[in-house]
Symmetry: C2
Subunit: 204 residues, 2 copies
Amino acid sequence: MAKRTSAQAAETREAILAAARALFSADGYATTSIAAIVDAAGVTKGALFHHFDSKEALFLQIWQDLQLEMDVEARAAAAAAFSKFDHFAAFLAGSRVYLSWATRPEYQRIVLVDGPSVLGSARWHGLEFDLGKRTLVPGTKYMASKGHFPKAMAVPAALMLQASLNAAAYALAQDQLGVTRDQFLATFERMLRGLSQISSSKAG
Amino acid sequence: MAKRTSAQAAETREAILAAARALFSADGYATTSIAAIVDAAGVTKGALFHHFDSKEALFLQIWQDLQLEMDVEARAAAAAAFSKFDHFAAFLAGSRVYLSWATRPEYQRIVLVDGPSVLGSARWHGLEFDLGKRTLVPGTKYMASKGHFPKAMAVPAALMLQASLNAAAYALAQDQLGVTRDQFLATFERMLRGLSQISSSKAG
DNA sequence: AATTTTACATACCATTGGTATCATATCGTC
DNA sequence: GACGATATGATACCAATGGTATGTAAAATT
Protein backbone atom coordinates (compact mmCIF):
# COMPACT_ATOMS: atom_id res chain seq x y z
CA MET A 1 0.00 0.00 0.00
CA ALA A 2 3.02 2.20 -0.15
CA LYS A 3 2.20 4.02 -3.35
CA ARG A 4 3.67 7.42 -3.08
CA THR A 5 5.28 8.19 -6.40
CA SER A 6 3.71 10.89 -8.47
CA ALA A 7 2.88 8.34 -11.14
CA GLN A 8 0.86 6.33 -8.67
CA ALA A 9 -0.75 9.48 -7.40
CA ALA A 10 -2.06 10.05 -10.89
CA GLU A 11 -3.32 6.50 -10.85
CA THR A 12 -5.23 7.19 -7.65
CA ARG A 13 -6.67 10.30 -9.16
CA GLU A 14 -7.84 8.44 -12.23
CA ALA A 15 -9.40 5.71 -10.13
CA ILE A 16 -11.41 8.30 -8.26
CA LEU A 17 -12.51 10.00 -11.47
CA ALA A 18 -13.55 6.72 -13.07
CA ALA A 19 -15.48 5.55 -10.02
CA ALA A 20 -17.21 8.88 -9.55
CA ARG A 21 -18.05 9.12 -13.23
CA ALA A 22 -19.73 5.71 -13.19
CA LEU A 23 -21.67 6.43 -10.03
CA PHE A 24 -22.72 9.94 -10.99
CA SER A 25 -23.92 8.53 -14.28
CA ALA A 26 -25.84 5.65 -12.78
CA ASP A 27 -27.26 7.20 -9.61
CA GLY A 28 -26.93 10.94 -10.08
CA TYR A 29 -24.85 13.46 -8.18
CA ALA A 30 -27.07 14.00 -5.18
CA THR A 31 -27.57 10.37 -4.27
CA THR A 32 -23.94 9.38 -4.78
CA SER A 33 -22.05 9.69 -1.53
CA ILE A 34 -18.36 10.33 -1.10
CA ALA A 35 -18.19 7.06 0.79
CA ALA A 36 -19.61 5.19 -2.19
CA ILE A 37 -17.06 6.79 -4.49
CA VAL A 38 -14.03 5.99 -2.39
CA ASP A 39 -15.27 2.45 -1.83
CA ALA A 40 -15.67 1.89 -5.54
CA ALA A 41 -12.29 3.44 -6.24
CA GLY A 42 -10.56 1.48 -3.51
CA VAL A 43 -9.18 4.56 -1.81
CA THR A 44 -10.02 6.59 1.26
CA LYS A 45 -11.67 9.92 1.82
CA GLY A 46 -8.32 11.42 2.58
CA ALA A 47 -7.13 10.62 -0.93
CA LEU A 48 -10.24 12.04 -2.51
CA PHE A 49 -10.11 15.31 -0.65
CA HIS A 50 -6.42 15.54 -1.34
CA HIS A 51 -6.99 15.43 -5.08
CA PHE A 52 -10.22 17.41 -5.20
CA ASP A 53 -11.31 20.35 -3.12
CA SER A 54 -14.90 19.21 -2.84
CA LYS A 55 -17.49 16.88 -4.26
CA GLU A 56 -18.54 19.65 -6.58
CA ALA A 57 -15.00 20.18 -7.84
CA LEU A 58 -14.78 16.49 -8.60
CA PHE A 59 -18.03 16.74 -10.51
CA LEU A 60 -16.80 19.73 -12.47
CA GLN A 61 -13.68 17.87 -13.54
CA ILE A 62 -15.73 14.98 -14.87
CA TRP A 63 -18.10 17.41 -16.57
CA GLN A 64 -15.22 19.07 -18.37
CA ASP A 65 -13.65 15.76 -19.34
CA LEU A 66 -16.89 14.67 -20.96
CA GLN A 67 -17.30 17.93 -22.84
CA LEU A 68 -13.77 17.69 -24.14
CA GLU A 69 -14.19 14.15 -25.39
CA MET A 70 -17.40 15.09 -27.16
CA ASP A 71 -15.91 18.24 -28.62
CA VAL A 72 -12.98 16.41 -30.15
CA GLU A 73 -15.26 13.96 -31.90
CA ALA A 74 -17.76 16.57 -33.09
CA ARG A 75 -15.00 18.75 -34.48
CA ALA A 76 -13.48 15.86 -36.34
CA ALA A 77 -16.79 14.98 -37.95
CA ALA A 78 -17.49 18.58 -38.89
CA ALA A 79 -14.01 19.01 -40.31
CA ALA A 80 -14.36 15.86 -42.38
CA ALA A 81 -17.67 17.04 -43.80
CA PHE A 82 -16.29 20.47 -44.51
CA SER A 83 -13.64 18.98 -46.72
CA LYS A 84 -16.29 19.30 -49.42
CA PHE A 85 -16.65 22.99 -48.58
CA ASP A 86 -20.27 22.52 -47.62
CA HIS A 87 -21.02 24.52 -44.50
CA PHE A 88 -24.44 23.02 -44.07
CA ALA A 89 -23.08 19.52 -44.26
CA ALA A 90 -20.40 20.36 -41.71
CA PHE A 91 -22.92 21.95 -39.38
CA LEU A 92 -25.22 18.97 -39.64
CA ALA A 93 -22.40 16.48 -39.23
CA GLY A 94 -21.28 18.14 -36.01
CA SER A 95 -24.87 18.27 -34.82
CA ARG A 96 -25.33 14.59 -35.50
CA VAL A 97 -22.30 13.70 -33.42
CA TYR A 98 -23.47 15.97 -30.66
CA LEU A 99 -26.89 14.36 -30.68
CA SER A 100 -25.36 10.92 -30.39
CA TRP A 101 -23.33 12.06 -27.39
CA ALA A 102 -26.25 13.80 -25.77
CA THR A 103 -28.22 10.58 -26.00
CA ARG A 104 -25.70 8.58 -23.98
CA PRO A 105 -26.87 8.15 -20.41
CA GLU A 106 -23.50 9.18 -19.03
CA TYR A 107 -23.27 12.45 -20.92
CA GLN A 108 -26.92 13.21 -20.50
CA ARG A 109 -27.08 12.67 -16.80
CA ILE A 110 -23.82 14.34 -15.86
CA VAL A 111 -23.55 17.16 -18.36
CA LEU A 112 -27.16 17.98 -19.12
CA VAL A 113 -29.28 16.97 -16.15
CA ASP A 114 -27.19 17.36 -13.02
CA GLY A 115 -24.89 19.96 -14.49
CA PRO A 116 -27.13 23.01 -14.19
CA SER A 117 -28.24 22.28 -10.67
CA VAL A 118 -24.83 21.26 -9.31
CA LEU A 119 -22.70 23.91 -10.99
CA GLY A 120 -25.37 26.55 -10.90
CA SER A 121 -27.43 27.64 -13.83
CA ALA A 122 -25.30 30.66 -14.60
CA ARG A 123 -22.04 28.77 -14.62
CA TRP A 124 -23.49 25.89 -16.59
CA HIS A 125 -24.95 28.05 -19.29
CA GLY A 126 -21.75 30.02 -19.44
CA LEU A 127 -19.77 26.86 -20.07
CA GLU A 128 -22.35 25.52 -22.50
CA PHE A 129 -22.34 28.69 -24.46
CA ASP A 130 -18.56 28.78 -24.56
CA LEU A 131 -18.84 25.42 -26.23
CA GLY A 132 -21.46 26.62 -28.68
CA LYS A 133 -19.37 29.66 -29.46
CA ARG A 134 -16.56 27.45 -30.68
CA THR A 135 -18.79 25.02 -32.57
CA LEU A 136 -22.23 26.19 -33.67
CA VAL A 137 -21.80 29.95 -33.77
CA PRO A 138 -19.08 29.94 -36.44
CA GLY A 139 -21.49 28.00 -38.61
CA THR A 140 -24.42 30.33 -38.12
CA LYS A 141 -22.17 33.34 -38.49
CA TYR A 142 -20.97 32.04 -41.81
CA MET A 143 -24.54 31.50 -42.98
CA ALA A 144 -25.47 34.97 -41.86
CA SER A 145 -22.49 36.45 -43.70
CA LYS A 146 -23.77 34.74 -46.83
CA GLY A 147 -27.09 36.49 -46.37
CA HIS A 148 -29.08 33.49 -45.25
CA PHE A 149 -30.41 35.40 -42.29
CA PRO A 150 -29.69 38.63 -40.39
CA LYS A 151 -26.38 38.67 -38.58
CA ALA A 152 -28.13 39.49 -35.32
CA MET A 153 -29.69 36.05 -35.47
CA ALA A 154 -26.43 34.11 -35.62
CA VAL A 155 -26.00 33.87 -31.86
CA PRO A 156 -29.63 33.30 -30.83
CA ALA A 157 -30.05 30.76 -33.61
CA ALA A 158 -27.02 28.77 -32.49
CA LEU A 159 -28.26 28.80 -28.91
CA MET A 160 -31.73 27.66 -29.81
CA LEU A 161 -30.52 24.98 -32.17
CA GLN A 162 -28.24 23.61 -29.50
CA ALA A 163 -31.12 23.51 -27.06
CA SER A 164 -33.23 21.74 -29.65
CA LEU A 165 -30.68 18.98 -29.92
CA ASN A 166 -30.55 18.62 -26.16
CA ALA A 167 -34.30 18.26 -25.99
CA ALA A 168 -34.26 15.72 -28.78
CA ALA A 169 -31.62 13.77 -26.91
CA TYR A 170 -33.72 13.67 -23.74
CA ALA A 171 -36.71 12.45 -25.66
CA LEU A 172 -34.72 9.81 -27.49
CA ALA A 173 -33.10 8.55 -24.33
CA GLN A 174 -36.46 8.00 -22.70
CA ASP A 175 -38.10 6.75 -25.82
CA GLN A 176 -41.55 7.55 -24.52
CA LEU A 177 -42.65 9.66 -27.43
CA GLY A 178 -42.41 7.35 -30.38
CA VAL A 179 -40.25 9.82 -32.25
CA THR A 180 -37.18 8.37 -33.91
CA ARG A 181 -33.73 9.84 -34.17
CA ASP A 182 -34.15 10.30 -37.89
CA GLN A 183 -37.37 12.20 -37.41
CA PHE A 184 -35.68 14.55 -34.98
CA LEU A 185 -32.77 15.03 -37.33
CA ALA A 186 -35.09 15.68 -40.24
CA THR A 187 -37.01 18.25 -38.22
CA PHE A 188 -33.78 19.82 -37.08
CA GLU A 189 -32.49 20.10 -40.60
CA ARG A 190 -35.75 21.59 -41.78
CA MET A 191 -35.62 24.14 -39.00
CA LEU A 192 -32.09 25.04 -39.94
CA ARG A 193 -32.81 25.32 -43.63
CA GLY A 194 -36.06 27.11 -42.99
CA LEU A 195 -34.23 29.58 -40.83
CA SER A 196 -31.83 30.05 -43.69
CA GLN A 197 -34.54 30.51 -46.29
CA ILE A 198 -32.98 27.91 -48.53
CA SER A 199 -35.31 25.57 -50.31
CA SER A 200 -34.12 22.03 -49.73
CA SER A 201 -30.81 21.45 -51.41
CA LYS A 202 -29.28 18.03 -51.60
CA ALA A 203 -29.33 16.95 -47.95
CA GLY A 204 -26.61 14.70 -46.50
CA MET B 1 -50.73 29.26 19.32
CA ALA B 2 -53.93 27.26 19.40
CA LYS B 3 -54.60 27.12 15.72
CA ARG B 4 -56.31 23.86 15.05
CA THR B 5 -59.23 24.55 12.75
CA SER B 6 -59.04 23.18 9.25
CA ALA B 7 -59.02 26.72 7.92
CA GLN B 8 -55.91 27.48 9.90
CA ALA B 9 -54.35 24.24 8.83
CA ALA B 10 -54.70 25.45 5.26
CA GLU B 11 -53.08 28.65 6.38
CA THR B 12 -50.15 26.71 7.79
CA ARG B 13 -49.86 24.79 4.58
CA GLU B 14 -49.83 27.96 2.54
CA ALA B 15 -47.22 29.50 4.79
CA ILE B 16 -44.97 26.51 4.24
CA LEU B 17 -45.50 26.63 0.49
CA ALA B 18 -44.80 30.34 0.32
CA ALA B 19 -41.67 30.14 2.44
CA ALA B 20 -40.31 27.14 0.57
CA ARG B 21 -41.07 28.73 -2.77
CA ALA B 22 -39.16 31.86 -1.87
CA LEU B 23 -36.19 29.94 -0.51
CA PHE B 24 -36.03 27.41 -3.33
CA SER B 25 -36.16 30.29 -5.75
CA ALA B 26 -33.46 32.30 -4.04
CA ASP B 27 -31.06 29.60 -2.88
CA GLY B 28 -32.00 26.50 -4.83
CA TYR B 29 -33.40 23.20 -3.65
CA ALA B 30 -30.22 21.53 -2.46
CA THR B 31 -28.97 24.35 -0.28
CA THR B 32 -32.35 25.13 1.26
CA SER B 33 -32.78 23.15 4.46
CA ILE B 34 -36.02 22.05 6.02
CA ALA B 35 -34.99 24.01 9.09
CA ALA B 36 -34.69 27.19 7.05
CA ILE B 37 -38.13 26.63 5.56
CA VAL B 38 -39.92 26.08 8.84
CA ASP B 39 -38.12 29.04 10.38
CA ALA B 40 -39.22 31.30 7.56
CA ALA B 41 -42.75 29.95 7.70
CA GLY B 42 -42.97 30.28 11.47
CA VAL B 43 -43.92 26.64 11.95
CA THR B 44 -42.15 23.50 13.07
CA LYS B 45 -40.85 20.45 11.31
CA GLY B 46 -43.79 18.47 12.62
CA ALA B 47 -46.19 20.71 10.74
CA LEU B 48 -44.18 20.47 7.55
CA PHE B 49 -43.95 16.71 7.55
CA HIS B 50 -47.60 16.50 8.43
CA HIS B 51 -48.59 18.40 5.31
CA PHE B 52 -45.94 16.99 2.96
CA ASP B 53 -44.47 13.53 2.77
CA SER B 54 -40.97 14.73 2.05
CA LYS B 55 -38.89 17.66 0.93
CA GLU B 56 -39.20 16.39 -2.60
CA ALA B 57 -43.00 16.18 -2.37
CA LEU B 58 -43.05 19.77 -1.19
CA PHE B 59 -40.91 20.74 -4.14
CA LEU B 60 -43.17 18.90 -6.54
CA GLN B 61 -46.22 20.74 -5.25
CA ILE B 62 -44.57 24.09 -5.80
CA TRP B 63 -43.40 22.97 -9.22
CA GLN B 64 -46.93 22.06 -10.23
CA ASP B 65 -48.36 25.27 -8.80
CA LEU B 66 -45.97 27.30 -10.92
CA GLN B 67 -46.75 25.34 -14.05
CA LEU B 68 -50.44 25.79 -13.49
CA GLU B 69 -50.17 29.54 -13.00
CA MET B 70 -48.11 29.85 -16.16
CA ASP B 71 -50.41 27.58 -18.13
CA VAL B 72 -53.48 29.61 -17.27
CA GLU B 73 -51.88 32.80 -18.46
CA ALA B 74 -50.41 31.32 -21.63
CA ARG B 75 -53.71 29.74 -22.59
CA ALA B 76 -55.54 32.98 -22.08
CA ALA B 77 -53.11 34.84 -24.30
CA ALA B 78 -53.28 32.19 -27.00
CA ALA B 79 -57.05 32.10 -26.86
CA ALA B 80 -57.25 35.86 -27.16
CA ALA B 81 -54.98 35.84 -30.18
CA PHE B 82 -56.90 32.99 -31.75
CA SER B 83 -60.06 35.03 -31.70
CA LYS B 84 -58.79 36.31 -35.04
CA PHE B 85 -58.55 32.72 -36.28
CA ASP B 86 -54.83 33.06 -36.80
CA HIS B 87 -53.07 29.94 -35.58
CA PHE B 88 -49.64 31.42 -36.00
CA ALA B 89 -50.57 34.43 -33.95
CA ALA B 90 -52.03 32.23 -31.25
CA PHE B 91 -48.95 30.05 -31.20
CA LEU B 92 -46.66 33.02 -30.98
CA ALA B 93 -48.77 34.73 -28.33
CA GLY B 94 -48.61 31.67 -26.12
CA SER B 95 -44.90 31.37 -26.72
CA ARG B 96 -44.35 34.97 -25.76
CA VAL B 97 -46.13 34.48 -22.46
CA TYR B 98 -44.18 31.32 -21.83
CA LEU B 99 -40.93 33.11 -22.52
CA SER B 100 -41.80 35.84 -20.06
CA TRP B 101 -42.50 33.23 -17.39
CA ALA B 102 -39.40 31.26 -18.15
CA THR B 103 -37.38 34.41 -17.65
CA ARG B 104 -38.58 34.95 -14.11
CA PRO B 105 -35.98 33.78 -11.61
CA GLU B 106 -38.57 31.88 -9.59
CA TYR B 107 -39.94 29.88 -12.48
CA GLN B 108 -36.57 29.39 -14.04
CA ARG B 109 -34.82 28.13 -10.95
CA ILE B 110 -37.58 25.91 -9.64
CA VAL B 111 -39.18 24.57 -12.78
CA LEU B 112 -36.33 24.57 -15.24
CA VAL B 113 -33.07 24.29 -13.34
CA ASP B 114 -33.71 22.27 -10.21
CA GLY B 115 -36.69 20.42 -11.60
CA PRO B 116 -34.89 17.84 -13.70
CA SER B 117 -32.35 16.95 -11.06
CA VAL B 118 -34.77 16.87 -8.12
CA LEU B 119 -37.69 15.12 -9.77
CA GLY B 120 -35.54 13.02 -12.02
CA SER B 121 -34.97 13.66 -15.66
CA ALA B 122 -37.55 11.14 -16.84
CA ARG B 123 -40.32 12.47 -14.62
CA TRP B 124 -39.49 16.06 -15.42
CA HIS B 125 -39.50 15.58 -19.15
CA GLY B 126 -42.67 13.58 -18.87
CA LEU B 127 -44.39 16.43 -17.08
CA GLU B 128 -42.89 19.00 -19.40
CA PHE B 129 -44.06 17.15 -22.44
CA ASP B 130 -47.53 16.73 -20.99
CA LEU B 131 -47.60 20.47 -20.86
CA GLY B 132 -46.35 20.83 -24.41
CA LYS B 133 -48.90 18.31 -25.56
CA ARG B 134 -51.70 20.51 -24.35
CA THR B 135 -50.21 23.75 -25.61
CA LEU B 136 -47.67 23.59 -28.43
CA VAL B 137 -48.51 20.29 -30.07
CA PRO B 138 -52.09 21.24 -31.04
CA GLY B 139 -50.59 24.22 -32.83
CA THR B 140 -47.99 22.24 -34.73
CA LYS B 141 -50.51 19.52 -35.51
CA TYR B 142 -52.83 22.07 -37.00
CA MET B 143 -50.05 23.48 -39.14
CA ALA B 144 -49.10 19.98 -40.25
CA SER B 145 -52.70 19.23 -41.15
CA LYS B 146 -52.66 22.31 -43.35
CA GLY B 147 -49.68 20.91 -45.17
CA HIS B 148 -47.08 23.25 -43.74
CA PHE B 149 -44.85 20.33 -42.85
CA PRO B 150 -45.06 16.55 -42.56
CA LYS B 151 -47.29 15.32 -39.77
CA ALA B 152 -44.47 13.28 -38.32
CA MET B 153 -42.74 16.55 -37.49
CA ALA B 154 -45.53 17.96 -35.38
CA VAL B 155 -44.33 16.40 -32.13
CA PRO B 156 -40.58 16.81 -32.57
CA ALA B 157 -41.08 20.36 -33.75
CA ALA B 158 -43.13 21.27 -30.69
CA LEU B 159 -40.54 19.73 -28.42
CA MET B 160 -37.65 21.52 -30.02
CA LEU B 161 -39.43 24.84 -30.13
CA GLN B 162 -40.24 24.57 -26.46
CA ALA B 163 -36.61 23.84 -25.69
CA SER B 164 -35.59 26.81 -27.78
CA LEU B 165 -37.71 29.07 -25.65
CA ASN B 166 -36.22 27.65 -22.48
CA ALA B 167 -32.73 28.29 -23.75
CA ALA B 168 -33.66 31.81 -24.73
CA ALA B 169 -35.05 32.38 -21.27
CA TYR B 170 -31.83 31.22 -19.62
CA ALA B 171 -29.79 33.52 -21.78
CA LEU B 172 -32.07 36.47 -21.17
CA ALA B 173 -32.09 35.93 -17.43
CA GLN B 174 -28.33 36.01 -17.31
CA ASP B 175 -28.00 38.75 -19.84
CA GLN B 176 -24.43 37.78 -20.60
CA LEU B 177 -24.87 37.40 -24.32
CA GLY B 178 -26.03 40.77 -25.47
CA VAL B 179 -29.03 39.26 -27.20
CA THR B 180 -32.35 40.97 -26.56
CA ARG B 181 -35.72 39.43 -26.01
CA ASP B 182 -36.94 40.78 -29.31
CA GLN B 183 -34.03 39.23 -31.15
CA PHE B 184 -34.80 35.88 -29.63
CA LEU B 185 -38.46 36.20 -30.49
CA ALA B 186 -37.66 37.24 -34.04
CA THR B 187 -35.35 34.25 -34.44
CA PHE B 188 -37.96 31.99 -32.93
CA GLU B 189 -40.62 33.23 -35.28
CA ARG B 190 -38.33 32.83 -38.24
CA MET B 191 -37.56 29.28 -37.20
CA LEU B 192 -41.25 28.53 -36.90
CA ARG B 193 -42.14 30.08 -40.22
CA GLY B 194 -39.14 28.55 -41.93
CA LEU B 195 -40.16 25.19 -40.59
CA SER B 196 -43.58 25.84 -42.06
CA GLN B 197 -42.24 26.96 -45.42
CA ILE B 198 -44.29 30.11 -45.30
CA SER B 199 -42.65 33.25 -46.53
CA SER B 200 -43.17 35.94 -43.95
CA SER B 201 -46.81 36.85 -43.69
CA LYS B 202 -47.95 39.75 -41.60
CA ALA B 203 -46.34 38.99 -38.23
CA GLY B 204 -47.90 40.13 -34.93
C1' DA C 1 21.44 15.34 5.89
C1' DA C 2 17.91 18.49 6.90
C1' DT C 3 13.69 20.34 5.58
C1' DT C 4 9.66 20.87 3.05
C1' DT C 5 6.11 19.10 0.38
C1' DT C 6 3.23 15.45 -1.44
C1' DA C 7 0.06 11.74 -0.75
C1' DC C 8 -2.63 9.61 1.76
C1' DA C 9 -5.16 7.52 6.28
C1' DT C 10 -8.11 8.01 10.41
C1' DA C 11 -10.96 10.08 13.64
C1' DC C 12 -14.06 13.31 14.27
C1' DC C 13 -17.80 17.08 13.61
C1' DA C 14 -21.87 19.86 12.40
C1' DT C 15 -25.73 19.59 9.53
C1' DT C 16 -29.03 17.27 7.12
C1' DG C 17 -33.60 14.85 5.93
C1' DG C 18 -36.53 12.00 8.14
C1' DT C 19 -38.92 9.28 12.07
C1' DA C 20 -41.08 8.19 16.50
C1' DT C 21 -43.62 9.82 19.82
C1' DC C 22 -46.52 12.67 22.25
C1' DA C 23 -50.05 16.30 23.15
C1' DT C 24 -54.27 18.63 22.25
C1' DA C 25 -58.01 20.52 19.82
C1' DT C 26 -61.71 19.58 16.47
C1' DC C 27 -65.29 16.76 14.42
C1' DG C 28 -68.67 13.17 13.59
C1' DT C 29 -71.83 10.15 15.98
C1' DC C 30 -74.79 8.70 19.32
C1' DG D 1 -73.36 16.89 25.55
C1' DA D 2 -70.23 12.84 26.12
C1' DC D 3 -66.68 10.38 23.57
C1' DG D 4 -63.76 8.04 20.60
C1' DA D 5 -61.46 9.02 16.16
C1' DT D 6 -58.87 11.99 13.60
C1' DA D 7 -56.42 16.08 12.23
C1' DT D 8 -52.78 19.15 13.56
C1' DG D 9 -48.43 20.09 15.10
C1' DA D 10 -44.64 20.17 18.59
C1' DT D 11 -40.28 17.77 20.50
C1' DA D 12 -36.74 14.59 20.79
C1' DC D 13 -34.11 11.75 18.46
C1' DC D 14 -31.43 9.10 14.58
C1' DA D 15 -28.50 7.58 10.74
C1' DA D 16 -26.13 9.41 6.97
C1' DT D 17 -23.73 13.04 4.80
C1' DG D 18 -19.96 16.39 3.24
C1' DG D 19 -16.20 18.20 5.10
C1' DT D 20 -12.22 19.10 8.53
C1' DA D 21 -8.38 18.31 11.72
C1' DT D 22 -4.74 15.83 12.49
C1' DG D 23 -1.27 12.43 11.93
C1' DT D 24 2.34 10.01 9.16
C1' DA D 25 5.46 8.29 6.08
C1' DA D 26 7.52 8.62 1.64
C1' DA D 27 9.41 11.63 -1.91
C1' DA D 28 11.30 15.83 -3.57
C1' DT D 29 14.15 19.81 -2.69
C1' DT D 30 17.72 22.29 -0.66
